[in-house]
Structures are given as structure tokens and as C-alpha cells.
Symmetry: C2
Subunit: 430 residues, 2 copies
């Protein structure tokens, strides 16, 4: 790994030090905005470090009157340790991405209270009683607003940063910022698109049950071409500012509310990458249900709900993206005013439909890549990891890998979300 | 137009002033490297301003011992006047692009002697007795090395800046530089992809002969969707660092030598944009020949030579790009080592071939857009403008527009350069 020092250009100064439950108090006390949110004397505040992600420290600080969430980048990958340095300036990119998301979906992201570049800290809204969506899905909890909210999040954030919405100058100047978020993107490039398809030290999977399929993936030429093509798309198609890590662990929910957190992997890339990430994680949750079934709850109804959510998500995304394109096309792509007569209106509408079909196809491919990396690569998902019986877990994982391969290799053949649903069901029922 | 002042971030400081034949002498005299190239006292040097392009001042300075070429950006579009301001920092982008080209094809670009950011000046090798290729083609002059040289220029510069050749980090950091070259890119976006398809003040064409076809283009829904799709590709597909203006006026030649100049429009974009630009200008030269025919020279043989050059260019580009991919694939796309067995080698090679076919298709589309804008938009080409009889010129232009439309709308149907040649010949012979 390259030295983290080199790329701490925008956050993490000389005075950087990891926060602790002690020094976080005077740090927060000195920020007027925070002082108005946290009541009473600092020594009465409760401070808990709750970071369970792979990369950061996360503190929840509460006073009687209110609380805040404090997220601080660490100079290494928390999941791996100090041997894998990681630049602190990801806090800068996360802050920039949060600002961009806030501009269009303020109700679907945490409010930002304060950004400290030197400490690589973002102080933001404390989301309570929200839980991580992934944990809810493991419990079999339904979220009726989820599909619609994430459809809106994806459509609004992706459309608003695309060439359809903004001038080339606005987009390129914004893109120049995120071009420098190279270290976190490299994690995506390596861990999603490359390592699962070669012998790599960091890979892990359920052994020995998945040894054969892991070897098969490493020797599957057609699959490797498909996943490398997806990687090249990720590297070169700057269609919109991506969240970059839109899985069910980056979403916090209550039955009534949805919030998307953690956009530190943000980069300009293909729209299908974000859309596919959410699809992939719903599909992983779907295949994991068999591992969570109990005599009292076979989880079949919940599996059906997950697939309905998948369908509603895509349908909602497509509808909203098209609506935005029809009404807010102020960018340099498909210049407004060129298609005003009847023939023009019709031709443009046909092109819009074809574009969404193309985005769906891209999303299907990226979904496959995102599923496989969670089973054969470094970073796994709790949906599957929490299935303690390895045979039972492996059975779920094999089905997920079966679909993942199909999605990557045969993405051109899956042309509707209904077809995607049917493919998932066919594999689950064997 | 936006104020030029805002975007002079990298060139054109407080002390900027246009050079004159007088002040250029002490300016050059003060640069040690130049002093070693120009012999004798400065007052004995000859200075000629020769800029005949659309944007800049160009001085040729000669001493008895040698000469240099001095190119300075002006704060407005020379073709239009001070009413259209243009940022001086295009000199910075040109310099950065020249450095990048020099790294792989030093023999095909002018040597850079000196860059002065404050004055927006590049001092470079004086190309003598080279002439602008376009002028040579108007005279019916053949250049046997041209196809091979431009094929090599395009393949080497485009491959070397693509994700196939360099790591994501190297590419994205380089891309961050060119993301800020927004004002010149905007000229491309407006003048190539938009204005010819709408009523725009700056449009001009041979009147009244082309009035009908110009109106037809403005009302052709299928064509407008095709050209706007190409524009969106130009805006969002960051495949490689483009020259950005690779026409026959940006190439200087002798019968033995080829040099590519003027990369101030450089930006990361689709590979087919550069390839298509050169194809387009060969095709414009081809259709213009009928206007230069004389009783003694019907130009038929020369037309044949132009189309042979077109074929040899594409064939040479494809061959070299593939060879580079096979031997210098050190980037993050198609990670080396994933395709070492027989099945992998074969699958990858099939993918390479398919990719070049896709690049050809993109190139064909961009070629169509580049042809049409030179006939219906602001900036025309001398190939056609020098045909003084307007009826004769219009006849050439109508044929070129006929092909241009086909290339944009039907680019998926033109799958080989031979087919492209045949399409051009069929239109010429009526």
C-alpha cells in the first residue's frame, strides 16, 4: 500500500490525533454550533465509541438536551490494522459528497454540524432510534418506505450531478475534487473487481465448502472478462457523483425514516454502480434468509418482501430519474430546446427509455460484482456471517454466487427487474 | 460567454501583455535555453507574426544560427474578436498535454523549449520547412508517412493515458488537471455538438445553396438524438487524454515528417473523438477535391490516395493499439495476471478485438459530427472555403453532409473502414 502521508492533502494536519472519550469533550465544547446542541457541562455528557464499520472511529455523544455523532477517519484500515495505511483526507471527500447530497435530498442524509479538516472529523446529526438497515433485514424487519426512499436518494443524487443536470464546467470542476479520492477508490477497484478473481492474501470464504467455487471463479475466463469490463467502466465512465458504497450497511432506518450515511468512497462513475450496489445487498439479504429461518418463521414471506422491495426500488428509481430528466434537464447533455417539436419530443423520449434500460443493464452487472466480493473477497456481510452453521451459510452463499455470475456474464440478457426477480427465485428454489 | 478573468488560474498573470515584434526580443534574450538556440544580437533576429488559427498569436523568430516558434494565448477568440473572451490558461493545458505526448511520441510533436505561465507563452521548436497538412491536401500533395505517423500518434497518446496503461491514481490525478480546461471544451461542446443543430447566431453556411439542408439538420430528430448522444459521450467517457482538436490544421508535414501541434483543447474523453476528428478531416479533404479539380488534374487519383490514407490510418491505429494492450497493459483496467491460461488469453483477445470495434464505431460517429460542424457551424475549413465558386463548393459540401449524417445516425451499421470508404465513394459518385 502506498504511504498514507502522501495523500493527506485535504484533511489530517500536523495536529491530527485520534479522538478519545476524554479529549472529545473539550473539542466539542469549543464549537459554538455544537455547544447549542449539547446541554449541560461536558463532564456530564455520555460518550460511546460505536464504530463497527471497517475504517473509522464513531462516537455518540449525548447530553440531556440532545446528542451528536462524531465520525473521525483513522490513518489505517480499522478492519485490517495499522499495516494498511489509509489517508485521512477521506473525511474531506465524505464531507464534500454529503454537501452535494444534502443539496437535493436533505431529509435522506444526516445533517452536518461541523467539519474539522485537521482532525479529519465530521460532527453530524445523531440518528436515533435508527438502526443499520442490514441488521433489520437480518431480523426479518420490513421497511415500507425503504424502496421509495432509496430510489429517490439514488435518482436525485445521480441525476443532479450528471451532465443532464449541470453544465460541463460545474460538473468538471466538481469532478476535479473527487479525482483525488484515489485511495478509497483503489479499495473498490481491488476488492470488488480484482481480488475475488485471483489468489490474493486478503481473500477469505467459507472453507472448505466454497473452495471449489472460489477456484472456479478464478479460472472462469468469461467471468473475468465481464468483471474487468465492469471495472473499466467504473474507472472511466464519469456519469455522475456516486455514493460509492451504497450497501445496506450505509443505510440507517426506522420504520418511518431512511438515511444514507458514509459517502467517503464518493467518485464520479457509472450510475449503475450505486444502483447495483443496493440491488446486490438486497439480493444478499434475500439469499441469507434461509440461514435465519427458524421452525417458527421460515422467512419465505420476508424473502418475498425483499424481492418486492428490489422491484419497487428499480421501478421508483427509473420513474424518478425519467421525471427529473423531463423537467430538470439544464445540463449540457441533451441541450434543452433542441427537441421541441413533436418528432423531437418523441425521439428524445425513446432515447430516455433506452438510456434507463442501459443503466439497468449496467446495474445488473455491478450488482453481480458486489455480491461475489462479499462472499469470496476480504469484506463480508453480516447477513451471511451471522449464519453460524458453516454448511448452512455455504448453501446460501453458493446460491448467491450462482446468481452473481449470471448477472455479470449475462447482464445483456436480463432486461427487466421482473426477470431479475425471477432469476433470483429460480436459484433459491433450486 | 463567461468572464475570462475568472478562469485564468494557471496562466496569464498580472503582468500579462500580448507580445509584439519588439518586446519579444528582450523576452527571448532573457531565457538561457533560447539564447543558446538564437545566435547573434537580438536586433538582428527576424520576427514574423504568422498566427492564422482561430485563437492565438504565433511568432517565428529566426537568427542566423537557428529559430524558434513562440505561441501566446490571447485573452479572446481571435476569429471572433474581443467580444468573446477566452482564458489564457489554455497555454497551461497545452503545455501539460504536450508534455504528456512528448513522453510517448517525442518525434511527432514539437520540442518544448520554455513555458511562461504569466505570459501564457510556449516557446517551441520551429518546424521548417513543414507546412500545415490541410494546405498540402488542398494542393493535392501526397504524404506517404502520414497515415502511419498519425496512427502511431493516436494509438500511443491515447493508450498511454488510458486505464489500460496507468494506475487509477496516476490517471485520476492527471485528469484532475484537465477537468479544469472547461472553457475550451465548451467551444467543442457548443460548436461541434449543438449549434449546427439549432438556430445560432454564429452559424454560417454557403447561402442560399445550403439553406435547405441546414434547416433539415435542425429539424432532424433522429440526427439530433445521435449527435447529443455523442456529446454526452464526450462529456462523460474519460477513456484517455485526448488531443481534442486532431484535424488536418493541427498537423504539420513535410514529405518525410509529421508533427502534431496545438493540443490546447486537451481533455479526458472518448478515444473515438480524436480518431474520428482525423477521419473527418480526411473525408472533408476528399469531398473538397472536386472543387479543386482543373482540366489538367481531375484529382481522382488523389481522392483515391486520401481514402487509402484513411484506411491505412485506422488499420495502423488498431494494430498498434492492440499491440500496446498486449504488451504494456500495466494499468488497473484488465489487470495483468488474470488471463494467463489458454482460455483466459483467448477470451481477453476476443474482448480486445471487440473493444477496437466499439472504438471504431464511436470514431465513425464523432467523424460525422466533426464534418457537419465545419459546414454548418462557425469554424469552417480551408479545404472547402477555398473553392471560390459557391455552387461548386455547395455541391462538395452537400455530399459531405450526406455522409456526415449517415455516420452519426447509422454508426452501428458501419463496422469496417472498408465499409466507410465505400460509403464515401458511393456518395461522391452519386
Amino acid at each position: 500500500m502506498s504511504s498514507a502521508k502522501v495523500v493527506n492533502r485535504f484533511a489530517g494536519g500536523e495536529h491530527y490525533a485520534p479522538l478519545s472519550e476524554i479529549i472529545i469533550r473539550p473539542f466539542l465544547e469549543a464549537i459554538p454550533r455544537i455547544r447549542s446542541l449539547l446541554t449541560g457541562p461536558p463532564h456530564r455528557w455520555t460518550v460511546r465509541e460505536v464504530g463497527d464499520g471497517n475504517l473509522n472511529l464513531v462516537f455518540i455523544v449525548k447530553s440531556q438536551g440532545g446528542g451528536v455523532c462524531v465520525k473521525q477517519a483513522l490513518p489505517y484500515v480499522r478492519l485490517v490494522g495499522e499495516s494498511w495505511p489509509l489517508p485521512l483526507d477521506r473525511a474531506h471527500f465524505e464531507h464534500e459528497a454529503l454537501k452535494s447530497e444534502t443539496a437535493v435530498v436533505p431529509d435522506l442524509v444526516p445533517e452536518i454540524y461541523h467539519f474539522d479538516a485537521g482532525l479529519a472529523v465530521i460532527v453530524m446529526e445523531l440518528l436515533e432510534p435508527h438502526i443499520i438497515l442490514r441488521k433489520g433485514l437480518i431480523r426479518g424487519q420490513r421497511y415500507p418506505k425503504l424502496a421509495g426512499d432509496i430510489a429517490r436518494f439514488a435518482a436525485e443524487t445521480l441525476f443532479s450531478t450528471s451532465d443532464l443536470a449541470v453544465t460541463a464546467r460545474t460538473k468538471k470542476e466538481h469532478m476535479a475534487i473527487f479525482c483525488l479520492n484515489t485511495e478509497l477508490c483503489r479499495i473498490t477497484e481491488d476488492l470488488v473487481f480484482t481480488d475475488p478473481y485471483r489468489v490474493a492474501e486478503l481473500n477469505r470464504w467459507t472453507k472448505p465448502q466454497l473452495d471449489d467455487i472460489a477456484a472456479k471463479f478464478r479460472n472462469d475466463a468469461e467471468l473475468k472478462v465481464a468483471v474487468q469490463e465492469l471495472k473499466w467502466m467504473f474507472l472511466s465512465r464519469a456519469e455522475a457523483l456516486l455514493h460509492g458504497d451504497l450497501h445496506t450497511g450505509s443505510i440507517m432506518v426506522t420504520p418511518d425514516e431512511t438515511r444514507v450515511i458514509d459517502p467517503e468512497f464518493a467518485v464520479y462513475g457509472p450510475i449503475g454502480f450505486d444502483v447495483g450496489a443496493f440491488m446486490a445487498n438486497l439480493l444478499l439479504a434475500y439469499f441469507a434468509q434461509a440461514g435465519h429461518a427458524t421452525p417458527g418463521d421460515d422467512r419465505k414471506a420476508f424473502q418475498g418482501w425483499i424481492l418486492e422491495t428490489l422491484e419497487a426500488f428499480w421501478t421508483g428509481f427509473e420513474r424518478r430519474f425519467l421525471a427529473l430528466w423531463r423537467t430538470k434537464n439544464r445540463g449540457d447533455a441533451f441541450t434543452t430546446g433542441l427537441f421541441t417539436d413533436a418528432a423531437g419530443t418523441q425521439a428524445l423520449e425513446a432515447y430516455r427509455t433506452a438510456t434507463l434500460a442501459r443503466i439497468f443493464q449496467d446495474s445488473v452487472g455491478f450488482a453481480g460484482a458486489k455480491m461475489a466480493r462479499r462472499i469470496l473477497g476480504l469484506a463480508h456481510v453480516e447477513d451471511l456471517e451471522s449464519i453460524t452453521d458453516p454448511d448452512r451459510r455455504a448453501a446460501c452463499e453458493l446460491r448467491a454466487l450462482d446468481l452473481a455470475r449470471t448477472l455479470m456474464v449475462n447482464r445483456a440478457g436480463i432486461t427487466s427487474v421482473h426477470q431479475l426477480r425471477t432469476a433470483a427465485e429460480a436459484i433459491r428454489t433450486g
